[in-house]
Symmetry: D3
Amino acid sequence: MAHLVSAAFVRNRGLFLPGLRAVREMSSQGGPTPPFSTLSISHPASMITHVELYRPEKRNAMNRAFWSEMVECFSQIAVDAECRVVVVSGAGKIFTAGIDLMDMSSDFIQPVGDDSARTSWNLRRLIAKYQETFSVIEKCPKPVVVAVHGACIGGGVDLITACDIRLCTQDAWFQVKEVDIGLAADVGTLQRLPSVIGSRSLVNELALTARKMYSDEAKTCGLVSRVFPDKEAMLAGALELAGEIAARSPVAVQGTKINLIYSRDHSVADSLDYMATWNMSMLQTQDVLKSAQAAIEKKSPKEVPFSKL
Amino acid sequence: MAHLVSAAFVRNRGLFLPGLRAVREMSSQGGPTPPFSTLSISHPASMITHVELYRPEKRNAMNRAFWSEMVECFSQIAVDAECRVVVVSGAGKIFTAGIDLMDMSSDFIQPVGDDSARTSWNLRRLIAKYQETFSVIEKCPKPVVVAVHGACIGGGVDLITACDIRLCTQDAWFQVKEVDIGLAADVGTLQRLPSVIGSRSLVNELALTARKMYSDEAKTCGLVSRVFPDKEAMLAGALELAGEIAARSPVAVQGTKINLIYSRDHSVADSLDYMATWNMSMLQTQDVLKSAQAAIEKKSPKEVPFSKL
Amino acid sequence: MAHLVSAAFVRNRGLFLPGLRAVREMSSQGGPTPPFSTLSISHPASMITHVELYRPEKRNAMNRAFWSEMVECFSQIAVDAECRVVVVSGAGKIFTAGIDLMDMSSDFIQPVGDDSARTSWNLRRLIAKYQETFSVIEKCPKPVVVAVHGACIGGGVDLITACDIRLCTQDAWFQVKEVDIGLAADVGTLQRLPSVIGSRSLVNELALTARKMYSDEAKTCGLVSRVFPDKEAMLAGALELAGEIAARSPVAVQGTKINLIYSRDHSVADSLDYMATWNMSMLQTQDVLKSAQAAIEKKSPKEVPFSKL
Amino acid sequence: MAHLVSAAFVRNRGLFLPGLRAVREMSSQGGPTPPFSTLSISHPASMITHVELYRPEKRNAMNRAFWSEMVECFSQIAVDAECRVVVVSGAGKIFTAGIDLMDMSSDFIQPVGDDSARTSWNLRRLIAKYQETFSVIEKCPKPVVVAVHGACIGGGVDLITACDIRLCTQDAWFQVKEVDIGLAADVGTLQRLPSVIGSRSLVNELALTARKMYSDEAKTCGLVSRVFPDKEAMLAGALELAGEIAARSPVAVQGTKINLIYSRDHSVADSLDYMATWNMSMLQTQDVLKSAQAAIEKKSPKEVPFSKL
Amino acid sequence: MAHLVSAAFVRNRGLFLPGLRAVREMSSQGGPTPPFSTLSISHPASMITHVELYRPEKRNAMNRAFWSEMVECFSQIAVDAECRVVVVSGAGKIFTAGIDLMDMSSDFIQPVGDDSARTSWNLRRLIAKYQETFSVIEKCPKPVVVAVHGACIGGGVDLITACDIRLCTQDAWFQVKEVDIGLAADVGTLQRLPSVIGSRSLVNELALTARKMYSDEAKTCGLVSRVFPDKEAMLAGALELAGEIAARSPVAVQGTKINLIYSRDHSVADSLDYMATWNMSMLQTQDVLKSAQAAIEKKSPKEVPFSKL
Amino acid sequence: MAHLVSAAFVRNRGLFLPGLRAVREMSSQGGPTPPFSTLSISHPASMITHVELYRPEKRNAMNRAFWSEMVECFSQIAVDAECRVVVVSGAGKIFTAGIDLMDMSSDFIQPVGDDSARTSWNLRRLIAKYQETFSVIEKCPKPVVVAVHGACIGGGVDLITACDIRLCTQDAWFQVKEVDIGLAADVGTLQRLPSVIGSRSLVNELALTARKMYSDEAKTCGLVSRVFPDKEAMLAGALELAGEIAARSPVAVQGTKINLIYSRDHSVADSLDYMATWNMSMLQTQDVLKSAQAAIEKKSPKEVPFSKL
């Protein structure tokens, strides 16, 4: 299947499209990119891949296909040397309504197994598989910027907490919805949200009551780093931010992402040791020399041609 | 002793008392609930237990009895199927003045032992016991909402950092008091506060200088998630919030609390694994079906009758 | 070399200099304190050591000497019974421009080794050594208050995240600069910043784009706990804060620092156990009695004469 | 209940009974010690407590009472200053047949709950409670020597892996029985056995096939440290070994046990740090001086009168 | 590709073949099982899958195909309900000569990348991929018995340390070969061997000197749990052992494997918690009832028909 | 001081001395190597450093000087490109009698401090310093072979458990002596011994009773990997073993040591990740090519000239 995706990538990879045109393409209504049925992939600018949740008529609800396609898509991006940064957004009126209960209910509401233990066994395998859908975002060494407009519900929060930088529009709201349907959120929110925002009291409140959080509170508590007036401005902002990242040494950028995630899960001493072991080879890149020279010559990183990674 | 407590519980468990009447009951001056001498237990609404620190004439200072009663009380609550959420507040003018130095001083100021090592041995056992007083709040799978008015000093901060959601009044202030009496805070603050609020610089400042922090700063830094104009409004808010939680599936709510605490202390990978292992059985609850059906029928979770847990 | 430093300490240790005079001394232009060539050490008040980055003509850029001198300086401070708290600031127009690329470039841009593996080996040893430069701040049991004015760039951010309390002036800005020169920050920022501030989205944005963050955002996100109008006011504030800390029991204060850092890297259960084991001896200090008595007599901690530690 | 136990202790605490008489008492057929119904407690020698599994007519099968009584018994021992070391053995023909399926089956074979999730909830609480039955042995700071004769089956292996030193008779055999009754061993064997013996291949084989391991293999693989010809010799040996431990400084001995268990679960760096923090107070014991003096005077530790702990 | 493998499985799955005939089939010279080119898959008995390294003419050296096929093979086995236990052995004269340097050298001896950092990047991805080749054995919940004859060199040791039970012939020898070709073993030996055998001194000696270890020492140190006179006897023994495991409840057996591996990497407290959370659902299997009933009726587990898992 | 040591190194570094002559030099009675007063340093063969505990008249008791000199010595060895492996042994009749109580007693028996807490503070610093004396052996990336004859008591066991490979003579015995002098062993034994040998029951017995363990049991339990008839044979064996290690690629050997120690303290998953990150640069060494070529040409590693490290 990999070569199909690859073909889709090539087909959609256009020339560099600066400014507004790029943003427009980002919101294009062209439909999902085959072989995907729920994702639209485009390349609004050099080295930037745009992944759009694309089931607008279903409020980008996460159906069975989506859970697999994300894994396929990000596995591909992880090794695509033409991509240095990813922007994720949602097509249509909202970012995502979360899990598509209609499509998925048989898995969770009528799980199968000869006895309760075997049903558990099957469920565990299923949950682990769905967790992987968002963990691939984290395992992908390229930074992922997510841009949320309208609503981001349930599984949507699981998704965005696995991304690196979160942006939203003024009209955006977020809801850890799972308790409302009788379950503890099990594909990432409870595991990642507490280290994403600064108030544990708020994390608990959101997860235990399923109340909505609006964009201003999302900004204050640190869930998003910026709020934009509308979707177009947000996508322009996301593209600009992505451009800043794409312009820098991929060795530096991807090493930074990997080590930031490492340090979340390890002690400072362990993380420093890992970092030293990482950089003992990565400092031997020519990018350091190129960057230093550019700095001396007062050039922007954007003018430096880095080798692919 | 357990049956006595149980009796106390039954005796105080009234009918559902909505709105203001419930709040009034929450601030009732009825005195401690036997067999407790420092805690007043009531049930302002269905499935909600209200634990009131009740030594108003001593500014709810934590005396010897208090340290044991909290353990007894929360151990009981942990297995009380009639309780799905707890509200903790303080009777009288302030939340708590912290440890009751008069009553406790012999333990810490004149510790005993045949030599310095044996004194240490005895002290370590004592500290571990007092740590347990607040750890029981965390081990209790029911969410605990704490509502602070007036002052919350020393041991009070240890207490509230072990709770799940923190609310306060406009006139509340918080003080990590321990350095002022010559010791490093040893029953929870130094261990939990850093993961409770978002600024490490602030945590250090508070703990190293014992300066007071007022409600507005407490809100900004994320220690509390909401500030209310006065105690009555706060208790009403706490009750409403507790009501939201109590209305939801206890399987979902308590699983959420347990996994949120788990993820604080483990890596994301470990926490996801634990979550999958947890939910492989918990997803088999009928609450998912009931909740999903209610959602389809546009009913509130409050209308869904969940089995006891 | 230790005795030289010690001599430098004694030479600069004056009498208690209250108020403005102390602040002035803190900004004195006397030059580096021998044997140091990049640090100026003074004692603006009793029990307070002031460490000033002192290469103002080079914007306090961190040269080869600096990386060693910090280790020597803080190792000395760690065992100096005359010091209970440290203030770190920068001489001249800005706090620090970060690493001195001119002086250091041979290490990192032209690393040596007979083959790529041996070059890696040498680089790892070097990185580990430079990491130690800031880890000593953390290992030093005395709290370190850092006061930033103007710019704090690259290595400067690594430095301040290893300090305990961060203050800045209105005109201060911060920049995680490393990606701009083609490398992942490897001496502390990526390891410590995420637990220092409350928004992971912001941490990632700063580290991946190298954008500047100004004082107001630094305050909002919790990087600094206070912003002052100018350097003089900030140093006065830092001195006052340091004075609050210095006035308290060193047993309490240093135990607090050690346990706060411990709890960052361990689970709450492990941290509580360590705390109990720590305090089983530390509670046997006479400082508790002295402090308690002072509290009863309504005296300030500043009036209590604690033994040296 | 504690005072009852205490009374039982006092009633059974005789004078020092050296040599064979002590051993005979250890195998006395006097029946369980009230208030216990499954344990016989005696004191064959000074500072030594002997806990005998006492349901010989049921092959010491672990019934409902047993699981509670062990917790009560070891909690008591943990704080009994008259006890410095514990010997555990089994009355009658074998050490233990493991869990008493007849008595316990309702708990595990017909667990209750309104739905599968609630049944899980109840089972988890139950398992955690039964795990505690053996974890108390580990939490008790006094070393526990276990002496196994005949068979040690299922729960018996869980029990002995939580003890500190294992001895057995020539005719002893061990069986990790749980897979034979359709479950993974969940009260300690799978968690502790791998760090108890040196061959992981053997651990896996034993746990996956439930085959019997005889005394010689138990010695070779390190499960037991000594094999004795018969029960009487073993009890004499256990008593002698216990005597060696009881004769030494309780500060040293109990600190050793605590730190050995700590180092099993932590990195060497963490364990060294904990050890230093532990001994900073424990080295201040007079036992060091007493022991050193005795060593100089060529006295045996047994002649040194240590204070109680 | 999965369906091809599946077809291969079905094609080779014969009826139950007891005793010698089964063993003979295990050593059959039929060649690799398509689509595999380096592995021969057969089913010598009900519920037992036999995976044979099958490049006898190349001493089962691990070539490029092998590293992928193992992942494919064990991923398939992990979800094959017809398999409850796996036996791994080698075709031809020895178990394996380790990595096929001729086939693999371009990867490691001439790695590619535009600069040293990019070469490192590519190598890290490659190493991680090859580590997965053996980690799949551990992730597969079915126990894996490995039977070694002749030589087991380099990568072979990485392979067998990831298996659960190790058997060997009298003529077998083992060699941690990597230092001889200038590298630290990086696909599992250094990570797993220390917890597999009981003497760290021996582990270090083997890994640092690449000396051969013969079967008797392998038995003494616990690397293997049994030594057989020749390959035929060993395969018969492996089959019998596998039969014992296959006869037991797959819920019990696979839960045992998963929790044994979990406890290797976590503290005892964490492992007990995980175990309780695991068994809260797994104890609800009908296998417990079936097994208990069989035990009462004195039947062998082999006579109990367990549902598939 | 470093240059003095360096000079000492150069002065003693002779030509390659094969066979017996080398061994004789190893037991030379030349006295300590200045500036050391307790250690004799020599170079019996190319790339091998011999560190001899040298206070034979005091049974190599560890006095105050020893604790510092070990740190100095191994810090030097860690960066000495002429050394690839270290042999440690003891001069005179026994390996070591452990801590020199006469010389050290003031530190531990009469510790100082204004109150018990301050005494603790000072003791903790002291213990941490003494722990470092043996941790340097572990931090030194060159493998350390220790050869024990006669007695190895107390601190001696702490020392040898920090070494990589342990050898002993037939007449050697080992004693974890600390409980005999009233303290829990605090400089490494309790932390490292459990992962060094395979029987936890034995570890506990040794540490709790201070009984002697003789060479045969030391071999059986895995503490030593070989036993030699006498000291001369042992030193010849140690030299030969060291020669095997010294002949191999230092990149491979030292990477092996570092990763073996890493994996002791981390999960397998973490250790594999670290290993991949380590080898991404180390595989780029020319040693792999050289070694592979030598293997093809049937040459011994000893004939391959590796660059220094």
